[in-house]
Subunit: 419 residues, 2 copies
């Protein structure tokens, strides 16, 4: 079964926006055993959309459109679909009911422009959008399926997961696919490849291993395709265990887990509290920790000590240490840990100080020099990173590294009761 | 003049890589007055590449391919081009000379796989690649142009800038395009549409307006096409002024600026310092502010006061206020501002407290209830938000809202000298 993904929007064609929707959709379809044959981006233009429909239906059984929906006047997708499917626009009451509930939650009511969005082609099956105002649409056409989704990524993802994928699995008889993603942090792609080379070479043909690296983390995805789901599941389970046993120090979780969730669970299980003392990461560690629902159970909060004055005043870092070793030094991050343990009354503290760049480097401490410390009342561990020149990459890599170092610290110093 | 951009590579179709090349090429072409009609991604497949060539040449005068070139065996692009243009592969001595020089700079010499890369279709004009091993190619075909570039971004960019764009400008007499993006925050797409409806209806045909919404921000893009660049520039300038005058309260910048950059510049120009006191945003405001290089000039840092204890201990929020009004209340965020002004020795403070969800709501304060305060030593302004149930959206929306509220506060209370 072949699919085409088509994004609509002049903003993509002028290069103002990078289309990340297509890539995400392709991943999801692939995992569901559907092969993406092409991706296409066209403008907000009736003729271009019509041609994309015509050409796409010649080569693919499934077309997924994103973008080109919305309450404003540049929206022409709905009209183009209505004409193509020869299906007049009619007021869709369920769509309006969803819209009304969406606005109720915001304490508002829909305006006329929003009401207009509820006129959908008669032949469309509504895919209700709980995250926004533009409804998704599903068209059955000659045994094929055409889907239209809004272009706002979180709305599109919500509709894909809740509405599109379950319906596709029901409608099409796709090959069975089982997969498991093993999440690692602490080593790069090539070092992992070395450690698991023999395992990889001995994988049977119907099992594939993909490396998905991303800033300090590498996800290893095992995929098995075939006809017998139960057997595939068993193989994947077995191969996962084999793989994890080769790199137990690097594996922190599976599938959709995140490092911050795993760390949070670890802390919660041990009834530990955590605080952060951030300089160059500027709050990203706190933000990442608190992106997890319920994180207030273990995260007390922290300090963003961007200025030296903040470091001295709130974390009791000594002026002498700052003068002698500098703000980016092992001594400073150690004092930051000690200070934050007291100031935030927490069991464990993460502290970070570094030169994120692009400016601020020196011959002894070039841009990308970063110190990370994790500690409790008894001991403090430190690590020095020497990263590149890109500010945002440095900040994001450091936050991930620090969270993983904290996970390892907790595992080591607070072994969990085995009962 | 119309162009198509085509990327070749299975890694794109399975969603392993996001295609950022197309977006970059589109920007460059646009700036050169060449309109990109479509972007297409196809697999490493002879038939798919051939169809892309055929279809592309029907609609566009210019096709730019990237990817599908390289020393490994899955390279089929060169063979497909040779067949399509009915042009046998011949050894290209200048290509080999470039390759030899490339390897010399690395202190190495080309291998046999690299030598094979120097067999190019006879009709191809070589575009020498100084950054890598795969040569670029230029084909003149029936008054149209087909270009093939390597997929490695820095090699592709180098070839575009040094070889492709100068040749295109020489060869084609291109239509002029001018655009301007007006950045707004504080209102949604449809509310803006209502306020500028008359303006939008009176736009001449050659000027288009697009709405690009994204979590609390809406970008408005004006595009004008024609033959006379100076005239188009004048029209865009004039229309931009008209538009900004209709919604001056919402506009914070232009084109590639970000809210945090604009706020940072505002603070720097006025020699003001800022601190943050974050509860439900957990550090995202600090992270966003410090994503701007040089932000240490105006951002002192802040507190992530996730627990009530942290609010009391570090921001001097009174136990009584917390007991009587709760942590999510106007009274609490006001005290957070007052506390942080002192604790962080800053001129202006942003404070946020809310229920990000999904848990923690009550009938009086449902999930999504968020208080934001911005203040200085003389006055504190507050706003209550009533958002939805999605934790990450609430956090991100609130951070954007708070930054925009700070921008408005600074504009209002620190009018910039007009000299």
């Amino acid at each position: 079964m072949k699919a085409s993904i088509i994004t609509i929007g002049d903003e993509i064609l002028i290069g103002q926006i990078v289309d990340t929707n297509s890539s995400w959709i392709a991943q999801q379809l692939n995992l569901a055993g559907i092969w993406v044959d092409q991706m296409l981006s066209v403008g907000d233009d009736r003729q271009a959309i019509t041609e994309a429909l015509q050409n796409g239906l010649e080569t693919s059984e499934l077309l997924i459109f994103t973008g080109g929906l919305g309450p404003t006047k540049d929206d022409i997708t709905v009209h183009t679909f209505a004409a193509f499917f020869d299906s007049p626009l009619v007021f869709n009451q369920p769509a309006f009911d969803h819209l009304t509930r969406f606005f109720e939650r915001l304490g508002r009511s829909p305006g006329e422009a929003h009401r207009q969005q509820c006129f959908l082609p008669e032949k469309a099956t509504l895919l209700p959008n709980k995250m926004g105002t533009a409804p998704g649409m599903w068209f059955d056409y000659d045994g094929k399926v055409v889907i239209s989704l809004p272009g706002v990524p979180y709305e599109m993802k919500h509709l894909m997961e809740k509405e599109v994928l379950p319906r596709l699995q029901e409608k099409f008889d796709v090959q069975a696919v089982e997969h498991r993603t093993i999440l690692t942090a602490g080593e790069g792609e090539s070092r992992i490849a070395e450690r698991i080379e023999a395992f990889e070479n001995q994988l049977p043909d119907f099992v594939k291993l993909a490396y998905l690296p991303n800033l300090g983390q590498v996800r290893l995805r095992l995929t098995a395709k075939g006809s017998d789901t139960a057997y595939l599941r068993q193989v994947i389970q077995h191969k996962t265990e084999e793989l994890v046993n080769l790199i137990p120090d690097l594996v922190f979780g599976y599938d959709k887990e995140t490092l911050e969730e795993v760390l949070g669970k670890q802390l919660k299980d041990r009834q530990l509290t955590l605080a952060s003392a951030e300089s160059c990461t500027g709050g990203l560690i706190g933000h990442t920790l608190t992106s997890v629902p319920g994180s207030s159970a273990y995260y007390n909060g922290g300090m963003v000590v961007y200025s030296n004055d903040m470091k001295v005043r709130h974390l009791n870092v000594s002026e002498e240490t700052l003068a002698r070793y500098g703000a980016v030094s092992e001594e400073t991050v150690k004092e930051m840990v000690s200070g934050a343990l007291k100031a935030c009354q927490s069991d464990v503290v993460i502290a970070v100080s570094g030169i994120a760049g692009p400016g601020g480097g020196s011959p002894e401490k070039p841009v990308g020099t970063i110190w990370v410390a994790v500690g409790n009342a008894r001991e403090i561990e430190t690590r020095k990173l020497q990263l590149g020149k890109d500010r945002m990459l440095n900040i994001r890599y450091t936050a991930t590294f620090a969270l993983n170092m904290t996970r390892q610290f907790v595992s080591k110093h607070y072994p969990y009761p085995l009962c």
